[in-house]
Structure formats: structure tokens, C-alpha cells
Amino acid sequence: MADLHDPSDADGSRSGLRDRLTKPGRDGIPALLVKVLFLGVVIGTAIALTPALVGEESWFFLVAIWAITAILVATYATGRALPAKYLVPGTLMLALFVVYPIVLTAQTSFTNYGDGTRNDKQTTVDQIVGASVTRSDDSPQYNLTIATDGDPTSGPFTYFLVPQDDPEAVFEGTADGLESDPDGVTLDNGRVTAVDGYTVLNIKQISAAAAELDEIAIPTESGSFIVRDGTSEAFEGAPTLVYDEDADTITDTTSDAVYTAEQVGDREYFVDEAGERISDQSWTANVGTANYERIFTDSRISSSFFGIFVWTFVFATLSVVGTFLLGLVFAVTLNDPRVRGQKIYRALLILPYAIPGFISLLLWSSFYNQDFGLINDITGLNVNWFGGATTAKIAVLLTNLWMGFPYMFLVATGALQAIPEDLTEAARIDGASGFAGFRRITFPLLLVTVAPLLVATFAFNFNNFGAIYLLTGGGPFSPDNPTAGGTDILISYTYRLAFGAGGVQIGFASAVSVVLFVITGIIAALQFRATRSLEDVN
């Protein structure tokens, strides 16, 4: 094939390949049909989803879906960019479900998003004002049906209202306002009993979602709000609180108290002159680098941070070194043609690798039971493994050693078999003894092959949340520092901080994730550089 092209073209065969491929009609009719069908489905899906996305005002998804469609059409409808045809499917998935979430995490890390700050400011103000709605004597009353087109526990919830003085009229109320005469409503005896596409909540579900329902206040055109009154009724009333957008204050019309937004920690609240909060509701706000500063300056975090960082490093290092050495010893020992039953040995030694990780971890966690656990049983010891930090660390490492060595055994066996025999033969002829030959010839060659896998294993263990979480849960915890456990690695420790007592702090958790991304990346890059293993990537 290369002969057909100008020999001066170093990449002749490839550009030849490209020429051939861009010729029309090469793929024949069936391939063309598949292509047309595929692109048709893609475009059709995008068109079908557009109304729903416009309805939900999900502009981001709308743009994303049409961008994906455009990329797919551009890639597959034209004869150009041959490599792209092969790269696009996986890259799209990677971009959507790995890279984009990482970007989203980085974005969130600059906010205070979390419990109490999940809504934007406008929604929060509406909720605060709505919660102050009080009934007056002439308040209109409604028969209420609470329904959802989502999940009965988390919503979103919609109120279907029938005025008690006009049992033929129906209103559909959401946080956006009231709409009259919704479609698909079944009216029975002055009450909505079913709505197409919605699930009507029963009393039990209503009380389970009470906290969220209490935040719902449906604005009406006259400036009043409709709020629920129990499980089956609602009333319309005027709020006693009034928000002044220009001054950014809330005024209580009954007491004339004025509440202004004031910063407390990483969030703002409306407080009066005495500093009394009107509500514990705050809102999502940009906090700049505050979350990052907190990681490095919060004394509660930094007091434990260094120790945990060191242990994380030790844990990842020992896990890699331990499993590699054990796997290597077994591989070298058994990789001798005179050993009978090599296949059986191999089959048995890789068994732990075939057992799903969570099973191994949960099983091993039962081994360390002080009274009935297998480890104490076999060794005759009476160690409370998870009781002390040192023994718990040993337990974690031992478990990881068992889980990881079969992989390293496979890797080492494969690498050993890939080393040309002439090399070891030559070493022998030159008079190198068994071990010296191994150390000088085989081992360095083997290391070149396995180094990237070792780096990847290190990175994996550095963030091996599962191993810690399922084995020890990070424990044991000492009474003077109940947040930092003896076996906590960075990821398990910081996630406990972010999701533990004090409410969910997603902004902070995101900052921690970003820091872990960076640390892992730097360590991996340094290791790759040290092993020089990526220099010949071509």
C-alpha cells in the first residue's frame, strides 16, 4: 500500500488510508443506512426534548443537547476528521459525566451551597415572606390536594385548589403563581381527586414532606399568598412581612421592625437591630476562596490535617509496595517451568481479585471482631483491632494487601513472561548469580513495564474511600477529637467534615474535592516523571 504513494510522504500509508476512506460510497448502502438512521434518531431525540427543556427553563441542558447533536452530525455526516469518528463517542461520555462534573465541582467550591443555602436569594425572601402569611376573617378558603409530578418525598409539589365558595373552579398553584383550569383534573365533590401525570400525596406522605410543604407559599395576583392549612385545606392571606427590594430589607408590618441582610460566617441572614434572625434560612452566595481558606486555616481542620495527610500517603505507599512485593515474590517463585501445576497455582492466587471489592471489605471487617473474629481465632491473640489507632491501621493495610496482591501477581507474571529470555540467558553466561541477575537485569526491565500501573494503583489508594469507609468507617475516634479517626485518609475525613454534624456543606466539600484532585494529580505527575515511564509514548 505504501508503494502506491509518494515515498517521500513519511506518513504515506496513513494519508492513503484517509484518501480511500473519504471516497464517497466506500461503505456501501447498509452502512449509509445505519448512519442516516443513527443521525436521524439523534436529531429526533434533540427535537423531541426541546419543548420539555424550554418548559423547565433548563437552558444549559438545551444548549448541551443541541451541541452534542451538532458534534455528532459534524463528525458522522461528513467524510472529514477520520480519527474523530472513533474518538467522539467515548470522549462525549467522558466530557459529560467526568469532566463536566469536575468543572461543576470546581464552580460549587466557590459558593456556600449546602443545608440552609440551597435556594437563591429571591426564593429565600419569598419563603420568608410567605411563611408570615396570616389569616384574616375574610380570608378565602380552599379545598387542597397536594400532588407531585416527581417524587412524593422530595417534590416538586403542586397544589390543586378548589375555592370553597365556588366548588366548580380549579386552580393549579406552584411557587410561580396560580393558573386556573388546569388540564386532566378529576373533580369530585368540590375536591381534586386525581390529576393526569401527577401522584396525589396521601396523609402519610404529606406529613413526611411537611417541612418542604411549609415553605410553599403561592403568590396571587393581588399580592397575597396561599398557604396550606393542615393536609386538606388552604387559605389565602396577606403577609405581615414586606420585602423592600431597593433597600434590601424586610419590614415587619405589625411591629415595624426592620431586618437587614448581615453576614454571619459564610452566609447572610436577615437580622434586626438587636441581631435577632428573622429566619434560619440563608441563600446560595459566592464566597470566593473562603472554602479553600477554611481548609488550610480552620484550626479544627489543620490540627488533624497534617497527621491525616501523612497517613494517607503512608497508606497509599504501603498498599502499593506491599501488594507489589508480595505479588512479585509469588510470581518469581512460581514462574519456573519446572514447577508443576503452575496453572492451578495461578487460578487459585487470582481468586481474591475475582471477588467484588465490597464483599472482601465487609468480610474482612468481620475478621477483626475482638471476641469472635477470625484473626484473633487463628492467631490466638485477643487484640481489639479497631480499638486502637495502630492496630486499626495494621488491619486496614493487611486487608488491602490481601485484596491487592493478586493484581500485582498477575501484573508481575505477565511482565516476567514478556522479558526476552536472551537477556537473562546472557546474564547467566556472564556469570551473574540467580539473585544478582534478577536484581540487575530482570527487575529493572520489569519495573519499566509495571511503573505506570504502580502509579495508577497509588492514585487509586490515595482516594480509596471505599476501603476505609467499609472497613473501619475511619475509626477509632478519640474522645478529644471526635471528627478525625485513627484510620481516616484525607477523602474520608473531609467528607465527614462536609456531611457530618453541622449540616451538609456542599460548597466546602467541593473545595475539598478540588484540593484532592490537585494533590493526586501532582503526586501522579511527579511519580511519572521519576519513573520516566511516559517518555516513549507514541
Binding site: 500500500m1 500509508s13 492513503g16 488510508l17 476512506l21 441542558f61 477520520l82 480519527p83 474523530a84 463517542p89 467515548g90 461520555m93 467522558l94 459525566f97 467526568v98 469532566v99 469536575i102 465541582t105 460549587t108 416527581g150 514462574n335 517451568p337 519446572r338 514447577v339 487460578a347 487459585l348 487470582i350 481468586l351 481474591p352 475475582a354 471477588i355 467484588p356 471489592g357 465490597f358 464483599i359 474482612w364 471482631n369 477470625l374 490481601w402 501484573v411 505477565g414 511482565a415 516476567l416 513472561q417 514478556a418 537473562t424 540467558e425 546474564a427 540467580g434 530482570t442 513495564t449 505506570p452 495508577a456 492514585a459 487509586f460 482516594n463 477523602i491 493526586t520 511516559l534 509514548v537
Partner: protein, 319 residues
Amino acid sequence: MTQVQGPPPGTTIVEEPTTAQGAGRGRRGGDRAPKVKLGPGRWFREVGWRHVVGMIAVVWALFPVSYLLSASLNPLGNVVTSTLIPQSFSLTNFTTLLDEQPFGTWARNSLIVCVCVVFVQLLFSALAAFAFSRFRFTGRRGGLLALLLIQMFPQFLAAVALYLMFTDIGAVIPAIGLDTLPGYILMMCGGSLGQVWLIKGFFDSIPMSLDEAAMLDGASHVQVFFRIILPLVRPILAVCGLLVFVGVIGEFLMASIFLRDSGNKTLATGLYGLIDADRSNNLGVFAAGSIMTAIPVVILFLYLQKFIVGGITAGGVKG
């Protein structure tokens, strides 16, 4: 062939051993085996000790498995009475699991997830590997290195973002939102390029002349990929698929965040729920479920064993 020592004096070599695998095969066949006759002491120093280490290795590898099996057969099913070696044989735990727990649902869900993720990941990885192996384009080396780096970050680090993202997606398309199997599968497909390096290593070992000959015969690049290259690497695809399968079936963290509804639980979250409810008394049922989960995987492992050895390393980083 790591021991560089030659045949020691006092031995008779009938046939030079070739490779480890070759020798293994030959031995079973009989006549092609290297006939090395050693005295007993010599034999132990050269070969016997390897069996001793091998036995120790096997005991180390298998004692937890033996305990798991024993616990699953123990009718009392608690930690206190479970032993390393099975003392009794009772299928109580298995029947309890199948009758009282939705084990079938968990297994079905796990199977659906595994099959979809394995298929997508193999196909997309193989496609990308073909591009990296056969074409030269700008950003090729950078792309390969970027892939390596991105794979070091567990998706769990972005768990919150994924959770929020799929909540939003579910508001528009409920079928692929949070707490749905398709949504979970889609999320797991983010790792679609996970096997590129491994598969590329094998594509590289297939000579380009093969593609070129096919093209001269009028094949298109699609045909070269599907009809020539893919069939040649079938064993390595099987190994990759198996590795992905083990990873997916054991995936616990994201599943526990994504799949809350009991009808959507996978084997990982379902069995975790069992043992978490009562760590000491549910051990037997948990062990029974674990055995049933692990057996198909183990059988696949044993079946593909000869491809697995070497397969993992070969794609390593040879470029």
C-alpha cells in the same frame, strides 16, 4: 524464566524448556516436557521450595474465601459460630436470602448494569484505541496522557456534582434521572475510555500491513476495524470486559448515592444493607449472597485465565 541459573551439575536435560507457558502445556501432553532429573535434595533446593511458597500463597489467598463459604453454609449464620473450615452443610442461608430478600431483583439490576457498562466501555474504548493506534493527528499524545491522568480521579470525588446533575436531568427526562438504573448506567459510562491504553497496546502489536492489504482489497476503515482488527483481539477484549465487570459489580459508593429505591438496588447496595442492618447475625445470609455473586465472576476468571496473565501488563505503557 527469571531464574538465570543454568541446569545444575548432576542433572540431565532431555529437552530445553521453552517458555513457562509452553513448558506447562508440554508437561500435560507428556513427551514435550523438559525431562530434568534431580536428586531429592537438589530438587527441593531448585524446585521444591517453590511449592512450599506456592502453598503458603494459596493458603493466604484462600482462607477468607474458605471462611466465606463456611459462613454461608453455617445454619446459625452469625459471626460467633462461623469457622474457617465448614463444620456443617446447610442451605438455610441461601433459601432465607432467596425467599425473604429481593436477591433476584438485585442480581437482575446488577446484571443489567454490568452488561450495559461493559458493552459500552469495550466498544467505545476499542473505537478510541483504534484511532490512537492507527491514525496520527494533532493532540494524539496529549490525549493519551490526559486519559491516563483523568482516570486517576474516582468519580466519587465529584459525587455531589453528579447527584445534582442527575437531579436536574431527571426533572426533564425522568427515565434517566436520579434513582433510575438507566441514569446510574449513564453515569458509569463516564468511564467509557477506561480500557483505551490496554486495548491500544494490543492494536499496536497488529501489523499495519494487515490493514493495508484489506484496504487494497476494497475494505473501508469501518470494515478493517470490525472485521479484521476486533476479531484478532477478541481474547484481550474478553479480559478487559471481565475487569470492567468485576469493577462494576463491586461498585458500591455511587450506587448507594444514586439508587435509593429498594427496587433499584444492586447486589452491592443490597448486600451491604443486609450486613449493615445486623453485622453479627446476618453474616450467613450475607455470605450466601456473596458466594452467589462471586461464583459467576470466579468461573469467568478461571475460564479466561490464560488471557488474563500478561493481558493486564501488555497494554501497560509500551506506547
